[in-house]
Symmetry: C2
Subunit: 437 residues, 2 copies
Amino acid sequence: MSSHASLQDVEVGDIVEVQFDGDKIIGRVMPRTELDPPGLLTLKLSNGYNVGVSLKGVSLKVLKKSEQKHKPIQESEEEEKYSAGEFVSLISTGGTIASRVEYETGAVKPALYAKDLLTLVPELASITKVKTRILMSILSEDMKPSYWTEIAKAVYEEIKSGACGVVVAHGTDTMGYTAAALSFALPKLSVPVVLVGAQRSSDRPSSDAYFNLINAVKFARFADASGVFVCMHSSTSDPTSWILTGTKVRKMHTSARYAFKPINARAVALVNGDIKMLERTKPRGGETVLKAGFSEKCSLIYSYPGLSQRVLEALCADCEGVVFAGTGLGHVPSYLLDSISQLKKRGVLFFMTSQCYFGRVNMNVYTTGRRLLSAGVVPLEDMLPETAYVKLCWCVANFPREKVEEVMRTNLVGEISERTVYEVESYESGLRSAPAA
Amino acid sequence: MSSHASLQDVEVGDIVEVQFDGDKIIGRVMPRTELDPPGLLTLKLSNGYNVGVSLKGVSLKVLKKSEQKHKPIQESEEEEKYSAGEFVSLISTGGTIASRVEYETGAVKPALYAKDLLTLVPELASITKVKTRILMSILSEDMKPSYWTEIAKAVYEEIKSGACGVVVAHGTDTMGYTAAALSFALPKLSVPVVLVGAQRSSDRPSSDAYFNLINAVKFARFADASGVFVCMHSSTSDPTSWILTGTKVRKMHTSARYAFKPINARAVALVNGDIKMLERTKPRGGETVLKAGFSEKCSLIYSYPGLSQRVLEALCADCEGVVFAGTGLGHVPSYLLDSISQLKKRGVLFFMTSQCYFGRVNMNVYTTGRRLLSAGVVPLEDMLPETAYVKLCWCVANFPREKVEEVMRTNLVGEISERTVYEVESYESGLRSAPAA
């Protein structure tokens, strides 16, 4: 096949020839990743390097269509056969890892064919059989609590259908929130569920999408672990990803490949060729329980000097519960105390975490903290603010009102750590890009 | 002096004897620091170690009152003489570093005599002449934009009266916000202004209050630098503090001594015995300009999945401007776009930073970012969300409305970094507890 093509004809995986100024480049069309400027087509050359080609005023020929036939988004996988316990399910939700150039505008838009990922990463086939499933196609800043339920249900279905591990491709913006949501909505799991994304531009022979996906599938297939994890680059080193606990992970850099850090926890494993377990985790097996549903009537409020009573009351007008990302050991301005007391009496639940992220709240040290405790604000130990917010949405939807505070305070899936002797060490290694292995 | 004393008689710096169960301990009364449990009196023993003594059922004798006479809070400094350029002004605003046990309840309450600090740290006298001034006495979670103005004015007065450097003792909860506020309110400075706090319990021979204060005074007196800085422990090493840029610093741990980290920047200096400059800074000299005033009608909104249109509109009801701590490269849910457009037309200004903290926003990559830009949301590069909020409060109070967006986008005092080749290195060293010196 060789003909002049319009940009709409080009799909990820195609081999194309681009002509400009008498020069030409031949390469395979790569998916977009974050930080690619708009209007750029990224091609993987035969030498392994990627080049970005401006889409303006070039002539484009498709030399060879991708071997993988791309069916529309309703594509059915049903005809394929998967033997229970011998395949990994790859669920796509959208995000950079599953995005393509919107050729009309040059912007990145989620428009995914799950099989693109298989086309671009043929190594996956040598790891295990991968069943792909497109669940939704949105950028992760648009995630909503109701979508968390949909994802949890899809993961549950895949496990019930025999998947020995599930990989969820997800945008990085809110991957931490979704990882927490799946942790609560699937409180018991017999296999690993691994969220994976792409963060970094494809200006290297191997973008992080490529290795993260390989490592996620490898972990999902072979690790003797169960639970919800995030798999993202651990350092600037190309092929190494780490596996992080879903309730203890946060995106800590807008663009670096090693943006995801464990907070008040250590990395569970390193994957690079093989799997190196760093922490004890629950092994495979046991039952898988689905307990989905998330309230959309909870708020996460970041405290700051000047946060007013008016704003707090406006936020709580139609709200079941509030998680504060307070300052330091867990404080909000003491002039908010009266409002909090009154709102609490009207039925709004209040919980405290810290905007420091690292460390533990302790509201017994200072007068303000003690007064907040008296007003009924519940401290959440070393739980991340985002995880606490997700857990509150889940608790409000799944437990009777009078049980919510007790459930929030109880460690269910690793969201609260015991006080450990290596807190300092953990903080240090968590902040570094790679653990001291 | 030796008599049975009630707890109310005991002051920081006194030598006391505590009797319990036939045993006794003699030591000097230390000020409270964070994480001391309530009801505990901390004594420094003659061997240098601190011990905590429960206040319940003990007999207490004051053996020797502190040599420094404690005058009531209205104490006047006017009788003392300070030669211009030869003294450091120590302004206290409250916080742990300036707190004492509230003996009645055992809780930490700010109740400071500035000279306590001099009594407890006699080494200060050997560094330079220190003029103390009590400006306010509040825990820092209660800081408000109007207090930032008061502190800035006091710093300005001290410099005008001849101080060759100013140290501001401050609670750690919101020290980062105040450091940013002073940076904008004193946009030109002839000397260093150093914020210092205490973070860590006094369960060691030397609490961080002690060394941080010595290092802050040393830097304020001798460093050939001007601007606003934070001086806090750089690592677990006792006597070392680092000096961080006031607009690029964040409290990243609830309780560790090295909680303060430079974000998208490197530490300016290390102080340990002597001063080791790590980064170029503006030298001393030139004029000092005061441009104080902070609006109380701005908001900092943390984005999360489920943040509703209703909440956004409630927040903006009586608001001049909003700083978003968006996800990733600078996003909020796209279903908020219509509200933002309408609020913008009604006069609310919108700015974008990232809740990742590290890295830079880039709203040109994705559709959502581009649509937010079209709606008039202004991206703020690598500015911290907290710094951006403080700057917005300041801009709204000090510039005509039509200039605010331009001023927000312009780097004034280091709040926006140029894109640097060592971004990765900076991120890494910023996250470690001490820079690779």
